[in-house]
């Protein structure tokens, strides 16, 4: 873009700073920025731990004995076991670190299973309306009323008879979450689609004679997905809680198949009364931290997405350039192509609709 045409600030921003989270991070200030950074830090740590668990953990998740014999049960923190050992004789630190991997696995599977179906159903149902829409809405309302944990237990029993291995446990949690989440994605995308369907640009596509498929995917779909990152983060934390709940109720994953925080909490139940704190504290802390981190990211993204909630730096008394008015010097259409640049309020970046108000 040449200077003559007065390219707006938005175009000078690099592709990097327009990436979803990076953009919000640069935009935020104060408490909102603190929340976002804290959330992002915890979440990044969680993902890194999950990926590098084999390197980070001193022992395997099902390891009971080291080079110098068995670990021993309920060893207090210190020495070879910085966080002690469990009643089953596992190393707590290793179980907590390996547990991140299982948690991440559940999140990925649950989100992947629900997001495509939910988004697609919402788009089709919202765009076409009619009987398909009514049935989908009634079904999704009915699913809302169904407790997800109960569903998870049933599925866990169906898949592996209640005693699950890694795949079975993860799938049980993921599928039960999926069933509950599809209606959530469905509802959000459907509401957005119904709103966008009435926008002038969709009507203009209809006037042009564009087919339904083209309108749905080119014009509606991308505009309807703005709120997805938010539900995604909320769903992720709920996925972890469901998995932990399953494990806590005894439908979790066998310790030999994978490390799982809920299972460890369940086994630590009896320890609490006998003053053995380390077996329950650390897996519990891991759950709280991960859920907190993901929720913080979701909450601050939500605040930043709304211009009314978004905080801004205070400005000085005489700061700022004068906003352009839309009047055209000259007032006629004599200027040819290229000659109009910089006129007619060129490069007015929308400032929360200040100039756009009629």
């Amino acid at each position: 873009m040449s200077d003559a045409t007065g390219s707006p600030a938005a175009q000078k921003r690099s592709a990097w700073s327009r990436l979803p989270i990076v953009h919000q991070l640069r935009q935020s200030i104060g408490l909102q920025r603190g929340m976002l950074i804290a959330g992002l830090t915890i979440t990044t740590l969680f993902v890194l731990t999950a990926i590098f668990a084999p390197v980070l953990a001193p022992y395997g998740f099902s390891q009971l004995r080291g080079a110098d014999g068995a670990f021993g049960a309920q060893q207090p923190p210190g020495g070879a076991h910085p966080l002690g050992t469990t009643v089953g004789g596992y190393d707590v630190l290793s179980r907590v670190l390996w547990g991140a991997q299982t948690a991440l696995f559940v999140i990925v599977v649950a989100v992947l299973l629900s997001i495509f179906a939910g988004v697609f159903l919402g788009l089709v149902s919202g765009y076409f309306g009619g009987w398909l829409d009514r049935i989908s809405v009634v079904v999704s309302d009915a699913v809302y009323a169904f407790p997800s944990l109960l569903l998870a237990i049933v599925i866990s029993i169906v898949i592996s008879g209640g005693k699950s291995n890694l795949i079975g446990g993860v799938l049980a949690a993921a599928i039960s979450i999926t069933v509950v989440f599809i209606p959530q994605y469905f509802r959000v995308i459907r509401a957005e689609t119904v709103r966008i369907k009435a926008e002038a640009y969709v009507e203009s596509a209809r006037v042009l004679g564009a087919g339904s498929g083209r309108i749905m995917f080119r014009h509606v779909f991308r505009n309807a997905t703005r709120t997805l990152p938010l539900i995604l983060t909320l769903n992720s934390s709920e996925a972890i809680l469901t998995l932990a709940g399953l494990g806590y109720l005894g439908f979790g994953i066998e310790p030999t198949a994978a490390a799982e925080w809920g299972y460890d909490l369940n086994k630590a139940l009896s320890d609490v009364t006998s003053g053995i704190w380390w077996t329950s504290l650390f897996p519990g802390l891991a759950i709280v931290l991960v859920v907190l981190g993901i929720t913080l990211v979701g909450e601050s993204l939500n605040d930043l997405a709304d211009p009314r909630l978004r905080g801004r730096r205070a400005v000085g008394q005489t700061a700022g350039v004068v906003a352009q008015t839309s009047v055209v010097p000259g007032g006629t259409l004599v200027a040819g192509p290229g000659g109009l640049g910089g006129r007619e309020g060129a490069a007015t970046h929308p400032t929360d609709g200040l100039e756009d108000r009629p």
Partner: protein
Amino acid sequence: MTDVLTITDLGISFATDAGAVRAVDGVTLRVAPGEVLAIVGESGSGKTVTAKTILGLLPETATASGAVILSSKDGSSESNVIALSTARLRQVRGTDVAMVFQEPSMALNPVYTVGWQIMEGIRAHGRFSRKEARAKAIEILGRVGIPDPETRVDYYPHQFSGGQKQRVVIAMALVLDPGLIVADEPTTALDVTVQAEILDLLRRCRDEFGTAIVLITHNMGVVADLADRVAVMYQGKVVEEADAQTLFSSPQNDYTKRLLAAVPHVGQGVVHAAERARARTDDWEEQAPVVVADQLRIEYPGRLGRSGFTAVDGVSFLIRPGEVLGLVGESGSGKTTIGRAIAGLTRVTGGSLTVMGHEMNGFKERAFKKFRSDIGFVFQDPASSFNPLLTIADCVAEPLVVHGRAKNAADARTRVNELLEAVQLPRAYADRYPHELSGGQRQRASLARALALEPPLLIADEPTSALDVSVQARVLELFAELQREFGFASLFISHDLAVVDLVADRIAVLYRGKLVEEGTSVAVLGAPKDPYTQRLLASLPVPDPAEQALRREGLRRLREAG
């Protein structure tokens, strides 16, 4: 007597995502008691922000400097609004200064009766018993011209019409007898015939209550009708301040001159229309019309157990090739519905509507699809008529791609550049996103998209009503130019007679779904036959105080006669 309002060197900055923006820059103004000061300017000129400062209604993101001194009506106390505490500000609001908002339906709370809402204001400022407050509310409703106030005080806002709602809002502002009323675009949301009544009421506020009014507007006709003194704002500064007579007769500032020149007058388009009529061949009348409506009827289905709403009721008209038909009417008259029906966006429920020889009553999308390339559509709101995630080039290329004239947007680029050239947008704008263009630029891009397939018919639904007056002038000029060049027939929908006059060959006037008058622009605007058209024409304020005073008198006579 001292001035009710003195603004000295007011500066306001906003914190935005794009950094600090200065909205108001060193504004100095004063308002004498019982005076109407109009602040005019286009979007973004800072007029609304200035008005909000007077009531201390700035958002948290704003920083203000300077002084806004407000005196009470009896001159007993003075206060600087910018420096007031929240508690003091609350005392000042309502008693010293009150506000009339743009959209009366949004300024009233739908779940309370209007009486309750007026009484709330009374009881917030001093000790009144419920009975006294109610008596006051009834009195004020009567004084603003609500018939039968004893009963209607217990009505809810939805039981009033738009104009009556604005009367209630004005009553709320007047009830504590403030020295100053700030009216922010008080008539913009209203139809032109209602606008005339509200302007009369505001004039009475000044004369009977002795209230000074700060009138914020972009409509020069309204200014000419009501204002004693005018301040013109441009880019946050007051560029000219004069009494209304002087400003309209001999504007000093260049911007003011341009602004006044851009205001459309009824009667301007006659020359163009006559020119176009001369250029036509003799057999033009015999050519097959592009659109024929015969006893067209469009009903919106009602909810269960309620009858439907008839938006268009037995309307007949035709549009011949290369002819611009202006469709005028107030909100709810069914003009947009007719435009949408021609484009196949709304179903026809009765009569016959033939578009390019295709019957639209009982139309099937599949059968109509091939005719779609023959119809262009320009939407009212330039902010929402483009997909925000596609560039202008993609948007303009869309019709070419949909109708198989190009494989993809890149393939259509040469044609897109030609089209942008035709609507006089620089080529480089093709790679921008819609939000990076101003309203007028977007509306021109919208024209480019509508004309991409060179359709023989273009439907323009209020294409300029969301634009500032100077931008509107350019878009209208462009429209006329393109019409000459491409020769398309057009249905031009607008609520503004002066705008329609500029572009249309013939004008059709709609009133409550019925066609009340149709004819050439000269006939309809020069010698209207229908009483509604006469009233509509007389209600349109002209930007000239002396002439407007005469017209006002004419309208009054017309009302008495009708």
